[in-house]
């Protein structure tokens, strides 16, 4: 017993630096956030009172918040499909080539290195200047839309920029998985008379399923927290038409009328959503592993 106490003491000593910063900047905010969510605190005044679940009840009738939730859900659903399909197509196409694999990989991954804020502003130039030029001078009139001002088109614009930025990341994971598919397995399938589509859906796809799971949940997780790309492109506008949950919280807490308690109640709801998704992910991956 004395030995294990000494071991624990040593453990604490070695973990102390990590534990201290972790407690101060992550755990305490996470726990105190739930506490703040039950107050009517405005972030400035010293006195505030506990209102228990009033904030949560108010959130339920907050149309702007639920609109931002709906927008985020739409964004996440489209991104999960679009980004993953493009990434997988690119990965398969690049892996099927004998030469220039490295060049393509470099090009498609590059946007992921650049911040979405910078990438977003570069695309802003395309949406507000280049596309009009192409519509006027090259006769491509289908490009002649208010890409930033019209909520319908700005949603498409946001998806384009977000895909441009994240597809490379997903593609790298898919490529790593594709390289793990044994070549003799594919050869055997080909000898057995399978065409390339059958080979892909019957052999390759089942083999890379773990990577598909990782990528889908990564897109889900980062999608629910989307902020940068929308901030750069539309700022959540026009009005609040393209506001995501993270933006809605940011605005509530740091712009205009500061309602900290209320904003933390929203944060808590976001936390619960993301946590449920992650727990489902862990469960799915565990059962997959058990199958293999």
């Amino acid at each position: 017993m004395g030995g294990s106490r000494r071991a624990n003491l040593r453990l604490l000593l070695f973990c102390a630096p990590a534990l201290i910063v972790y407690f101060v900047f992550k755990l305490i905010p996470a726990v105190s956030g739930i506490g703040y969510a039950m107050t009517d605190w405005n972030g400035l005044s010293q006195d505030y009172s506990f209102v228990l679940f009033d904030n949560f009840i108010a959130v339920f009738s907050d149309t702007y918040f639920w609109r931002s939730v709906w927008f985020t859900l739409k964004y996440v659903a489209v991104m999960v499909v679009v980004a993953n399909v493009i990434a997988l197509l690119l990965a398969v196409a690049i892996e099927s080539r004998r030469r220039a694999k490295g060049v393509y990989r470099t090009i498609f991954y590059m946007p992921n290195m650049i911040s979405m804020v910078i990438g977003g502003y570069m695309w802003m130039f395309i949406f507000t200047q280049v596309l009009y030029y192409m519509a006027d001078n090259w006769g491509l009139t289908f490009l002649d839309h208010s890409w930033i001002g019209d909520p319908h088109y700005s949603f498409i614009a946001i998806i384009i920029v977000a895909s441009w930025s994240t597809v490379g990341y997903l593609m790298i994971i898919y490529m790593a998985a594709l390289q793990g598919v044994p070549a003799d397995l594919l050869e055997a399938a080909q000898l057995a008379g399978a065409n390339s589509r059958q080979c892909f859906f019957r052999v390759t796809l089942p083999m890379i399923l773990p990577a598909v799971t990782i990528c889908i949940f990564w897109t889900l997780n980062s999608g629910f927290q989307v902020f940068d790309v929308i901030y750069a492109l539309t700022g959540g506008g026009p009005g609040r038409a393209t506001q995501s949950v993270a933006m809605n919280i940011y605005e509530e807490a740091f712009r205009g009328n500061i309602r900290y308690g209320y904003a933390t109640a929203k944060s808590t709801i976001l936390f619960v959503i993301v946590m449920v998704i992650t727990l489902i992910q862990l469960k799915v991956m565990k059962s997959r592993e058990a199958e293999l």
């Binding site: 992550k26 703040y36 090009i107 910078i118």
Partner: protein, 276 residues
């Protein structure tokens, strides 16, 4: 059959080239137009610049205080990542080597908190920053990044240490080395591959993070590259040549970093993702 395959190969190749051009378009268009005058840009955004004039760059270097913002970003990322590596390597190692209920609990705590999304803690975190008087302090912000980053890094180090046999460390301890010495001279060098992964993923994260500096830093002398680019965009929203040149120089450091360490970055990314 063979001919069919060759044709489909050609189609795939053509599509790949088109996709690659699409992917490069924003960078190329920004670069191309950053050398023009505003008049030239407005008449034709698709033409090559008539001459390479760096006047826009001179303007924006000055306007966005480029070198100061760059220095701030380097300092911020450097200190944050150093802290993350120092704190989490020793913690991950010790957590893996100690087999008690407490070690399991602490490890579980780190892993659990990886689920907490940043946007759900940003408001109370801002309170902590204010209370500790860290607002507008780059070193303070580095501490915050350390706090947010250690859990993932501890998890990665913990996993890596599992694969290293403990016998050597025990033998060295018998010979009278202190635990810190064992770690410093024996274990840490062995952790190099995972340290590289932790370093790369965290440098990229801190370098490209926007929301946290946006909240914590309001003093323009402490601006990171992204913050000063953002401010410039707000101030000169119709002066496209200024904005585009600013975007190019803001993206330049990461592109150089990418060119230098591409292999390690791509390896680190896929490893970090598949393990994390």
């Amino acid at each position: 059959m063979k001919r069919k395959r060759r044709i489909s190969g050609a189609i795939v190749h053509t599509l790949l080239i088109i996709a690659a051009l699409f992917w490069l378009a924003p960078l190329l268009l920004a670069l191309m137009n950053s050398f023009k005058t505003n008049g030239e840009l407005l008449t034709n955004v698709m033409s090559l610049p008539t001459e390479l004039n760096f006047e826009n760059y001179e303007r924006t270097l000055d306007k966005m205080n480029y070198f100061r913002s760059l220095g701030n970003t380097v300092l911020l990322s450097g200190v944050s990542v150093t802290l993350i590596i120092l704190f989490s390597s020793v913690a991950g190692w010790k957590l893996c080597r100690t087999k008690t209920r407490l070690s399991k609990f602490i490890f579980g705590l780190f892993v659990f908190s990886m689920l907490i999304p940043f946007s759900s803690i940003m408001i109370p975190l801002y309170r902590v920053v204010l209370a500790l008087k860290l607002k507008n302090s780059l070193l303070g912000l580095a501490l915050v990044y350390a706090g947010l980053g250690v859990s993932m890094a501890v998890f990665l180090y913990h996993g890596f240490v599992k694969g290293i046999p403990a016998e050597l460390e025990e033998a060295a301890q018998m010979d009278g080395c202190s635990q810190l010495q064992v770690f410093r001279y024996m274990v840490f060098p062995l952790l190099k591959p995972i340290t590289a992964t932790v370093c790369i993923t965290n440098v990229l994260w801190v370098w490209n993070d926007f929301l946290l500096p946006l909240i914590v830093i309001s003093d323009s002398r402490k601006y990171t590259l992204l913050l000063s680019t953002n401010t410039l965009f707000g101030q000169y929203s119709s002066d496209w040549t200024a904005i585009l040149s600013a975007l190019i120089i803001a993206a330049l450091p990461v592109i150089v970093f990418y060119a230098l360490f591409q292999k390690q970055i791509l390896k680190g990314i896929s490893e970090g993702a598949l393990k994390g």
